[in-house]
Structures are given as C-alpha cells and as structure tokens.
C-alpha cells in the first residue's frame, strides 16, 4: 500500500483495481513512465484496460499533487515522476531514458527563488538533457536507433 494509494483513499476516492495498479507502477518503476508505458505494462494483467483510464488516473494524481509531470523526454509524451523530492532528471536525447540525480544545491536554489521572486513555488522540473554514458560512444561511432 503506497503513498499514492493512501492519498486516493484519504481523499475519499475509489480504490479500483486499475487505480491501484497504476499507482503501483508509478511508485515502483524508476523509469518515469508515460501514460502509454503504464498502459502497456498493465495490459497483460488488465486486458480491457483503457488508455483513457490511465490518463484520467494520472490527471487525478497530478491535480492532487501526488505525482509530478516532468515534461517530455524528446519523445513527445508526458513523463510522470512519483518522487516528489526536489531532484534533477537527466534525459538522454538519444535513448530517451530518464534517470534521477540528487543534489543538495537544488533545494538551496528553490529557497532562493522563493525569497527573491515573490513566487509561491509549487514544484519544479529540473531537466538536464544530453547524451548518457551509454549513448556517448554510440553517437561518436555514428550508430543509429535507440
């Protein structure tokens, strides 16, 4: 029973098998999935699952602040992150993988931004993009595909 499921329950929302499964995927996966990725991952388990249900659930979780939408990773689709602590997402522009990178300075910056800008900061999307260690040599050799 993870944080997302508890959040839904406490809000009085219904814990359907689909929602529970989506929450588990989000909480357990480290690859910042898109709606489509979650859909395909759950399809064997829920053959009648609808992509619309995944989107609806993601929107519920997002609007409750239980997950973050971290933008696309060069693949045109929104990626979601269940890790709400301020951290950096490193996106590889070649293989579209997203990895986390924790750095204390990120927290400092958030405080500075809040104090100096007058903004009420609700969240952050800190994405560095480039070539991951695996794709750096591949790029140099001129290889294709992800």
């Amino acid at each position: 029973m993870n944080r997302l499921i508890i959040g839904l329950k406490q809000a009085g929302l219904r814990l359907t098998p689909q929602r529970v499964a989506i929450c588990k995927v989000l909480a357990e996966s480290k690859d910042h999935p898109t709606a489509m990725m979650i859909y395909h991952q759950l399809l064997p388990q829920f053959p009648t699952l609808s992509l619309a249900t995944v989107y609806k659930t993601l929107n519920v979780l997002k609007s409750m602040g239980l997950v973050h939408a971290i933008g696309d990773a060069g693949d045109g689709a929104e990626h979601f992150d269940a890790d709400l602590t301020p951290h950096i997402n490193l996106v590889c522009v070649r293989c579209h993988r997203v990895v986390d990178f924790d750095e204390q300075l990120v927290q400092e910056i958030q405080h500075i931004v809040e104090q100096r800008s007058g903004y009420e900061v609700q969240g952050a999307r800190i994405v560095y993009y480039g070539l991951c260690p695996d794709c750096r040599p591949a790029q140099r050799n001129g290889k294709e595909s992800a």
Copy 2:
C-alpha cells in the same frame, strides 16, 4: 541582424523574410513564445504566413542549438527560449506567464552533473512552477480567468 540570423547564414541556409522575422521575434521577445504566438504576431506583416513554416523554422533553429525548447507552461504548447545561458524559467500556473531568473548556482550544478553522471550535457530546462506575485492574491480571493 541577430545571433539566430547569423547562425542560419553561416550554416548556408536561406535567409527568407519569414525566417528573418521569426528570428527577430524570438530574439527580441521576453515572453518565451510558442509557435502559435509567433505566428499571430507576424500575421499582420505576412498575411500568407503558414503556421507550418513557423514550426519548420523553429525545428531548424532548435536542431542547430540556436534556441531551446523549454516545454509547455501548462497550456499544452511548446515554448521557445532564445536565451541559451543557463537560467531558471519561472512559470505561473495560473496566468501561464514565464519569466527568467538568473542564479549563479545553476552553473555550478551543471558542472557537478557533468562530472558525476557521465552525461554529456547539451542543455537544461530548469522550470519552477507556482503562482506569480500577481496571481497569489488573485488565487486567494478566488478570482477566475487569466
């Protein structure tokens, strides 16, 4: 004659009036425009301008690294930034405005990321979202619209 136009010229690409105008909008505007915003801004001047041309030009500039795509601002459309120096974009989730915020720490973080992750960092998208000073009181009073 700005940096973007020079970049196109040096790459041997053609300096059409449309491209020049798009580059000027990008370099001079401070509001991180979307393709649609650029299109509407130039329509009086180029009545036959096509939105496809704006998109094609933006993709050329982006793939040449002359502008950054900074993701959507809650409005579902890609925003572009001609300021390539590492800086923070502050997005207001209520009025969808985007302002810049310079902070030295950002540069330090980029170096740390490169050294510790093995990534070849090509750029960054550092977006904090929340309520801007104008929208903070508006939100509290329950007012609507942007």
